[in-house]
């Protein structure tokens, strides 16, 4: 199967259209709940197979390259990555791990002394962000598997993939036409949200601080459960001793960096290196990473279409070259061209400005003397900022350190090279999506004599 036509991007709508779409979807809740979970797993598996077929996605890749500013080669890699998360085995395992049983969405399951059942919330709004292609498939997969009906607000800065992905779902299962709607309106148009919220049973939000705050306000006002995937950042910690051959390690870090051009919440912004021998381990990692990023650039080139990126990278390279060069605190390793990759080797741990600078294959590598220094650094973020820690890719084996790091707010520990594609059952923002998008119900075990 291929796209008969290129994806239709929905026109921007107002309140009346949004309400009409919600009212059209609402009757579908009963039908959605009546289908077995296996139906949705099979559907997503088939959709994943479609997208992993280069022929199927060929017409849309150039459009995505233009809208994301990523090279076509990188877009292909990103679609391959997200397709791997849509296999039936992966999703079934995710349901088992997150909900405890794959059957709990279909029927009552036996638990010690009682029976348990999960129900969908009903009509779900997906308020998507456009910073990474993976957002739309993940959000829709969570919504479908939990048997919700789904009203999708596509991001205005990258509307194409969300629309195309929803279209691919409907091409496999046209019977879902009244259970899935894809709409577009300006994120700043509060009137549409205000009109919609009274009709919703749940919201899953992806995006920045400001939009999350306004969505949270509406959710509280209308008592709508909110699953918020607000802004976060991630990092990597190499808790020594380093292997003799750093190439594999650096390749894994580079692939974490390159995916989504480092704009996802799961993208590493900096690499901490426990340096028993001082600066040299970090320097060795920085140099190995530079080599890996150079190879990655050949495989997944940087597109020259984003003017803002070129200027941003040039200014940041310049700034850190001067700041670190003058203080003797580090140096900048960078591609010969102006923006393909930049590795900043710095004895100064990243501040907010450095974390902001670390997108578009721009990363800090910083030596740390001990786990305690890492924990002190994490502690230096205020209580409210610690909820911004997303993934820590960890190479080491100190479980006490991991205990403290998670107590400080790190949401998930990952292997290197797997920051954006964790094993099924991995936590997300301190919880499970499938749990949050369903309600849990119990009833006495009829085989047990309850007084």
């Amino acid at each position: 199967m291929t796209f008969a036509n290129l994806p239709e991007i929905p026109r921007r709508i107002g309140c009346d259209d949004a309400v009409a779409a919600a009212e059209r979807l609402r009757p579908g809740i009963t039908a959605a709940r009546a289908r077995p979970v296996a139906y949705y797993l099979n559907l997503l598996d088939e959709v994943g197979k479609l997208w992993s077929n280069p022929g199927y996605r060929a017409p849309i890749v150039p459009m995505l390259a233009a809208s994301t500013g990523h090279s076509p080669e990188l877009v292909e890699y990103e679609i391959d990555t997200l397709s791997r998360l849509l296999t039936r085995d992966y999703l079934a395992s995710m349901v088992e791990q997150e909900l405890g049983s794959i059957n709990i969405l279909d029927s009552w399951i036996q638990a010690p002394g009682l029976r348990l059942r999960r129900q969908s919330r009903g009509l779900l709004l997906h308020n998507l962000a456009g910073n990474a292609l993976i957002v739309a498939p993940l959000s829709l997969a969570y919504g479908l598997i939990t048997k919700n009906v789904n009203l999708v607000k596509i991001p205005t800065d990258e509307p194409i993939f969300a629309a195309a992905f929803a279209q691919s779902i409907l091409s496999v299962s046209p019977e879902l036409a009244d259970e899935l709607a894809v709409l577009q309106w300006s994120g700043s148009d509060q009137s549409v949200y205000r009109a919609l919220f009274p009709l919703l049973d749940g919201v899953i939000h992806w995006g920045g601080e400001q939009s999350q705050r306004s969505i949270a306000h509406l959710a509280a006002e209308h008592d709508v459960p909110l699953l918020a995937h607000g802004p976060k950042f991630s990092f990597t910690y190499l808790d020594g001793p380093l292997p003799c051959d750093l190439a594999d390690l650096a390749e894994g870090i580079a692939s974490d960096l390159v995916l989504w051009e480092q704009k996802a919440c799961s993208s590493p912004r900096f690499i901490l290196v426990r340096a028993d021998t001082g600066y040299s381990d970090a320097e060795a990692i920085a140099e190995a990473l530079a080599l890996s990023l150079q190879k990655a650039t050949v495989r997944w080139p940087v597109t020259p279409s984003d003017v803002g990126r070129g200027v941003r990278v040039a200014a940041h390279r310049h700034q850190y070259e001067l700041q670190l060069g003058l203080s003797g605190q580090g140096k900048v390793l960078a591609s010969a061209d102006s923006q393909s990759w930049t590795v900043v080797l710095s004895k100064i741990l990243p501040d907010h400005a450095a974390i902001n600078a670390s997108t578009d294959r721009f990363v800090f590598v910083c030596p740390v003397a001990s786990n305690e220094e890492v924990l002190a650094y994490l502690s230096s973020f205020g209580r409210h900022q610690r909820r911004l820690f997303q993934v820590m890719a960890y190479e080491g084996n100190d479980s006490d350190f991991l205990d403290t790091a998670t107590q400080l707010g790190v949401a998930r520990i990952s292997r290197i090279g797997e920051m954006s594609c964790p094993a099924p059952g991995a936590s997300h923002d301190g919880g499970y999506n499938l749990t949050a998008l369903t309600t849990l119900h119990s009833c006495p075990d009829t085989t047990t004599n309850i007084k």
């Binding site: 991001p155 800065d157 803002g308 070129g310 200027v311 941003r312 310049h318």
Partner: protein, 396 residues
């Protein structure tokens, strides 16, 4: 009016429309060599780029190799501005601050002689645009520089003052000082700065009646908004005719300039058309200028009806390069947009601003316009800084 002394090197160069290229290169080489010797940051950049001005700068073709400083490096938030000095902080006279549309000003440490050199470069623009005859009346859409100076801050023991203050201070272009009117004044009730409309209208009517040679100068958004809104409300026009001249102020076409934000962009074509209609002045008397606080030169701009845009002339005491925003390599094609690098050796005795790369998109203009003999550029606006942060954090 130049209120500060002039740098010795700039005498005979800045304002000299016949400046020889050989002199410019010699002065540039000397400035760069001095900067390398006195500014550790610039020295580091030259070392890293393997550039020695004494050896590597012999013709204008070599200018592309000069290490530039990005305007970002001068930002207060970056904290590098004291490192970009050629002299100790104790020896500068002030920090000159950019207008800071985004709330993070660029800071350049200067001595008075560099300020004076900038004023000289700026005033030379007036003779280029308006000839040498003084004006009878000047209506200035800025505050009185004395008010701006009173609001100055202090950093490392030195005053921080808006660079615009010294530009405005030099705009004393009338015979009679009493006929220079700073229109942006504090409202007596709200204390907010706003344009004094009664004075503006009164002076305009008098200028028409007395056929006075009149200059309207200052903030682009304020100038446009005030005159356009008055016209839309009342339909009143002012027939200044060929006695009227207009010089809006250094940017602001996006509706923002310093603390002013009118929340809409201003089309240059609509600006010229509306001002021609409202003030009755010929389009060729509507001019513009371009500059930035990290550098020490200002480019005069004339309206080109065919391009429906202002075209800015690079004076002989400066050199402009347009760099591809993606590769940062120089662009020589006319019309292709790139980043502007402005190079000048004058007024640079205290900070490393001889070659500054800014995040404004510009393009070279084909020299078919007979009014412009040297390099000319168009300004297309700031590089878009939209960044898809989404669920990836960007700290405020």
């Amino acid at each position: 009016m130049i209120l500060a002394p002039i740098e010795t090197k700039a005498i005979g160069a800045v304002g000299n429309t016949s400046l020889k290229e050989e002199r410019f290169i010699d002065d540039l080489r000397n400035t760069l060599t001095g900067t390398v010797n006195e500014c550790e940051a610039y020295s580091l950049l030259c070392r890293n780029r393997h550039f020695n001005p004494d050896i590597d700068l012999t013709t204008m073709e070599d200018a592309v190799r000069i290490p530039y400083i990005t305007s970002q490096a001068f930002k207060k938030s970056v904290g590098l501005f004291p490192k970009l000095l050629r002299i100790p902080v104790s020896e500068i006279d002030l920090w000159t601050a950019s207008s800071s549309t985004r709330g993070d000003p660029s800071l350049s440490g200067r001595r008075w002689e560099d300020v004076g050199t900038y004023q000289l470069a700026y005033l030379s623009l007036f003779s280029r645009l308006f000839g040498n005859e003084p004006f009878d009346t000047s209506l200035v859409f800025w505050p009185d520089p004395a008010v701006m100076k009173a609001r100055s801050g202090n950093l490392y023991g030195k005053p921080v003052e808006p660079f615009a203050l010294y530009i405005i201070q030099s705009e004393r272009v009338t015979h009679d000082p009493q006929k220079l009117h700073y229109l942006m004044q504090p409202n007596k009730e709200t204390l907010r700065m706003e344009i004094n409309l009664p004075i503006l209208l009164d002076r305009l009517r008098e200028a028409v009646h007395s056929k006075e040679r009149t200059l309207l100068i200052g903030s682009t958004p304020l100038l446009y908004l005030t005159l356009k809104d008055h016209y839309d409300r009342t339909g009143e026009t002012f027939d200044l005719g060929s006695n009227g001249y207009l010089l809006p102020g250094a940017g602001g076409w996006d509706g923002k300039k310093g603390q002013v934000n009118i929340s809409r962009t201003i089309s240059k074509e609509a600006f010229v058309s509306d001002m021609t209609r409202i003030l009755g002045i010929p389009p060729e008397h509507i001019t513009d200028r371009y500059g930035f606080s990290e550098s020490s030169t200002m480019l005069p701009g004339c309206y080109d009806a065919d391009l429906r845009d202002f075209v800015y002339e690079v004076p002989p005491w400066a050199h402009a390069l347009v760099r591809d925003p993606n590769t940062l390599e120089p662009i020589s094609e006319y019309g292709k947009e790139g980043l502007l690098e402005l190079i000048t050796p004058y007024g640079m005795s205290t900070h490393a601003g001889a070659a500054v790369l800014v995040d404004d998109l510009v393009s070279l203009v084909e020299p078919t316009n007979s009014k412009i003999s040297g390099t000319a550029i168009r300004i297309h606006g700031r590089v878009p800084h939209s960044h898809k942060a989404g669920c990836g954090v960007m700290f405020e």
